[in-house]
């Protein structure tokens, strides 16, 4: 509490350069889009390549029935059973697996499952984590302390185990489908949103504009809704995409350990990999390599988007400028007069 912060009149921080005269489109989404558009160099590459990969999987997921040659659990067509563990060929490009199901169809339908689960999980955890973080951070006190302890405990807990236990416990009541997986994954991501939002609220709460709102007589609800929310959710797109990537790995992990979605419910890549372990021992690579590549690609795609967004939105990582300045030659400017005839001091003494 001593000489910490007093006025900094000449402070070159805020009032450094006069602001541009043109007004930019705003609103939270306008601002986000504005920043995304300004991405440069590698960040831009990350964003667009990631978005491209993700878009491919979204298309696969939405139009799976039209794109996939067979159903996700179809093992025969036209009355003919497919070969068991058949190698890739003209009619089954990715081969067939131990259940005689077409691997290509499983991979395509798998993207549908993955995206369903991840979207549900992200939406659920946003709806739980963000308000909790806002309330906890703004009010503080015992409620905050208890929530923080619980969330920290959940966060520190090995997330896969948590998901397994939740899935395991929900098996009897909810079943072992998409919803169970989504809830299990939600539980492990809520603490992340909570932590991030709460952290942002804690720092935003000290901002003069929040105090100004209080000084105007605004109620806590108004302050949270109008002053904190939009300034706090800036980092949410980044975590949401990175978490979506992470959630796909968790879903696959659940499937791999046998606690995920059962093959009768939907096609799931992790489960396919688990079944592929035995095949791999026999040298039958296609039953596991294709679903594996699908996981890696989708996760990579989402992570690239997340990293790209982080570059663009995170003020810490944002660069002030990327462009190199090239000075125009002096004599190019007609108004610059090279003669400095008035100066008759200093020049002559240039070198001692």
């Amino acid at each position: 509490m001593t000489a910490a912060s007093i006025a900094e009149p000449g402070g070159e921080s805020i009032l450094d350069t006069p602001p541009p005269t043109t007004s930019r489109p705003r609103g939270p989404f306008g601002r986000l889009w504005q920043q995304v558009k300004q991405a440069q160099g590698f960040s831009k590459w990350l964003l667009w390549v990631g978005a491209g990969i993700t878009a491919v999987f979204i298309v696969l997921a939405v139009f799976a029935p039209l794109i996939a040659p067979y159903g996700f659990d179809q093992y025969m067509a036209h009355g003919v059973r497919f070969a068991k563990q058949g190698s890739p060929n003209g009619s089954h490009w990715f081969g067939t697996n131990v259940r005689s199901v077409d691997v290509l169809s499983v991979v395509i339908y798998g993207s549908r499952t993955a995206i369903e689960v991840v979207m549900l999980a992200v939406v659920f955890s946003l709806f739980v984590g963000v308000p909790l973080g806002l309330i906890s951070g703004y009010y503080g006190g015992w409620l905050d302390r208890i929530l923080v302890l619980i969330m920290d405990a959940l966060f520190a807990f090995p997330y896969l185990l948590l998901a397994i236990i939740i899935a395991f416990l929900l098996q009897n009541s909810v079943g072992s489908g998409v919803l169970t997986a989504a809830i299990a994954i939600t539980v492990i991501y809520v603490p992340q949103y909570f932590r991030v939002v709460r952290g942002q609220v804690l720092s935003a709460r000290e901002e003069p504009y929040v105090e100004a709102a209080r000084a105007l007589g605004a109620r806590p609800r108004t302050i949270m809704g109008r002053y904190l929310f939009f300034n706090v959710i800036q980092s949410v797109p980044v975590i949401a995409t990175l978490n979506a990537a992470d959630a796909i790995l968790t879903l696959a992990g659940l499937g791999f350990l046998g606690f995920g979605i059962q093959p009768t419910q939907a096609a799931e890549w992790g489960y396919e990999l688990q079944r592929g372990v035995a095949d791999m021992g026999a040298g039958l690579w296609w039953t596991s390599v294709f679903p594996g590549i699908a996981i890696v690609s989708l996760v990579t795609g989402l992570t690239l988007v997340g990293e790209g967004l982080n570059d663009v939105l995170n003020p810490v990582l944002r660069k002030r400028s990327g462009r190199r300045v090239v000075l125009p030659r002096r004599d190019a400017s007609a108004t610059t007069l090279p003669t400095r005839q008035g100066d008759n001091r200093g020049r002559g003494e240039e070198l001692a």
Binding site: T2, A3, A4, S5, I6, E8, P9, G10, G11, E12, L15, D16, T17, P18, P20, T21, Q38, R320, S321, G322, R323, R324, V325, V326, L327, R330, T335, T336, L337, T339, R340, Q341, G342, D343, N344, R345, G346, E349, E350, L351, A352
Partner: protein
Amino acid sequence: MTAAPVISVRDLRVWYGTERGPVRAVDGVSFDVRAGETLGLVGESGCGKSTLGRGILGLLPSGSAVDGSVRFRDRELVGVKQSDMREMRGAELGLIFQEPMTRLDPLMRISEHFAETLRAHEPELNSEEIDARSIDTLRRMGIPPTRFRHYPHEFSGGMRQRIMIALALVLNPAFVVADEPTTALDVLVEAQILSILADLKRNFDTSLLLITHNLGIVAEACERVAVMYAGRIVEEGDARQVFSDPSHPYTRELLRSTISLSTTALHYIPGSPPDLVDPPSGCHFHPRCPSAMQVCGSLDPVEVRAPSGQRVSCWLHGPDELIPPGGTAPLQRQELASADEA
């Protein structure tokens, strides 16, 4: 003036890039600082004074472009190799910063800061010599030797600024840039630091470029003053002379709008400083200048020697032969919207 300049800056330009285009932070600046002299560089925020100070030491963000000339004694600093520049920084050229609270590495003891600095430039020193020299410099800045091995967070803001000054001076540099060294400090501590800076040349024989927005500090601590506006030096000369008889309209208006204990009436300059991405043509001050003439908006002013002795870049002082016919007529301007002013 007989002393040779320690630093001689000629036509220096420093531009750096932003999304909106290059910022002409320093746009053709010339001045000298002589041995043992303190030159005050004064200007409002955003006028490029900090960029100028850093430009001399080669500490600019990547993507900046520099040309012109900075001579330190007989060495040219513009375009010098980074490694050579590094060797000169600290040893020959020092820098004191605005915000002392964050300038010391929080994980290192004060003693380690000194050891690192001295070892970087004088590797032959042993640790007793390093300690002795550091403690001696600190003592001259008013830091007791008992606190030599403390961590930065154990010091107050004023103490940290004293430590920063000691760190800049422990190698006895010939030239030091002090960039708003007291702006973040309380007024009593500011006065303490200013008196330390004023003693510099007595104790260390160091030339100082004191960058500030506060005319009072210049009056207090500097022999000469250079007034900077929108990337250019508009007036430069003996401090007493400039303060008592300012030649450039900007200097005059700035002095009048400064609120001091002797202020009896409020005065201000209309408009606000220009955007350095797209500065006004001709004299950058002409849109705000109460004395603007036709010529001011079209031609860059030429530096002349004012009758009172200071160098000034303003068409009011000529040279008359360069002003086109009719150029001295008063400039007709649109009425400024009142909010454009602030």
